[in-house]
Symmetry: C2
């Protein structure tokens, strides 16, 4: 039997490791949730009760530090396991998760996942692999950010949305200037000024949220050159 959720990427991972009767139980235990833009469906401090997977859409992982400042940890796209960074290590979430676009998430009972880890070694390996890959990505991102100038940081964000999310010449930014500031560690005004400069220099066109990448090579050069 196939899942009702036929075009769900998560299956490509699990098909490889689960024998068919396990897969049946797995799919039946799934809940699908359609969320509109701007919904915070995981809150920092909440108890972890389920395993969540982003089937469609775009999300941000964010947290508030002790001083009350909000930081964006990373952006998540389909194939990312939303809750993976805390689920096996902690009892509560150390970050919140909010949709940036209309999104669909799949929710699995935690016990089922835990049982699969215990009884299916290949499944466990896959989970370990995915977890570490995802963590490695976040780590190299923040290390990368730490070493770059404001121009490099903003160029990186714009290129990220084009190359990894939208794949088109022009696109609507799913984040506000403020959110870019929270992600890069820059001030809002600096974010705006840099975007303005890129526009004046003919690297991009800007119509509010809409961005068009005119000189991609130039942007990349700025990103790479900005030690």
């Amino acid at each position: 039997m196939l899942c009702s959720c036929n075009n769900c990427h998560i299956k490509t991972i699990f098909y490889e490791t689960l024998i068919s009767n396990q897969l049946d139980g797995f799919c039946e235990a799934r809940t699908e949730l359609v969320l509109s833009k701007g919904v915070t469906f995981i809150r920092q401090g909440d108890e972890i009760k389920s395993f969540k997977y982003l089937k469609e859409g775009l999300i941000k992982l964010h947290k508030v530090d002790e001083t009350g400042k909000t930081q964006i940890i990373s952006f998540g796209k389909p194939m990312d396991f939303v809750s993976i960074h805390n689920i096996f290590a902690e009892k509560t979430y150390s970050y919140s998760v909010t949709t940036l676009e209309k999104s669909i998430i799949c929710i699995f009972d935690l016990n089922i996942i835990n049982n699969l880890v215990k009884t299916n070694g290949e499944f466990a390996r896959k989970i370990i692999q995915t977890t570490t890959r995802s963590a490695n990505n976040i780590i190299s991102n923040s290390l990368d950010m730490l070493g770059r100038s404001m121009y490099g940081k903003i160029a990186r964000v714009l290129l990220f949305f084009q190359e990894e999310i939208y794949f088109t010449y022009g696109f609507d930014l799913p984040v506000s200037r403020k959110e870019i500031a929270q992600y890069t560690g820059l001030s809002i005004e600096t974010v705006i000024r840099v975007i303005s400069e890129f526009r004046k220099d003919g690297l991009i066109k800007v119509y509010g949220k809409r961005i068009e990448i005119i000189d991609k090579k130039g942007l990349k050069a700025i990103y790479e050159y900005s030690k």
Copy 2:
């Protein structure tokens, strides 16, 4: 039968999950290596052939980026799984590892670990837990660093060595000013200047590598206040 390696912390983790005959094989497959200070025993790009564990000592994880600049990712102490971040996800190391003090590392054959993950669900769970915890630590560290001023960054480094490594009022810094710069993303001169200021303000005493924390509360306040 007990390991020859009786006081090795790694056993406390594995004892909980391995049944005794598994444990025997596990211990016999172990190689112990004593390394003096300043030895790079894992090199960025090397093929991953074994699972390495820091039994005693202190290490740094570091990498060079595309521009040739060296970054320090994190410092590792006993109980840290040195090679954990890449071992299950990649074929080669994406970072190097170097001893900062005389250290002892235990080396396990990769196949044995992989087999245990496959055949022992509890063991797999432990590995996942440890991996994610370790990754979460690095992530919160770099996010934390991203948001702080030079004073906050240096205060954090000094407090880290006191509170997590040496536990004493005074200690010898195991890293050079240059390495602190590579870890924080600051320039060498800035690192030196901030340390000097802390000294002038009576927060610490400095005799070359030797640091004594005079006003710990003050240092913490600087760290916490430095948004």
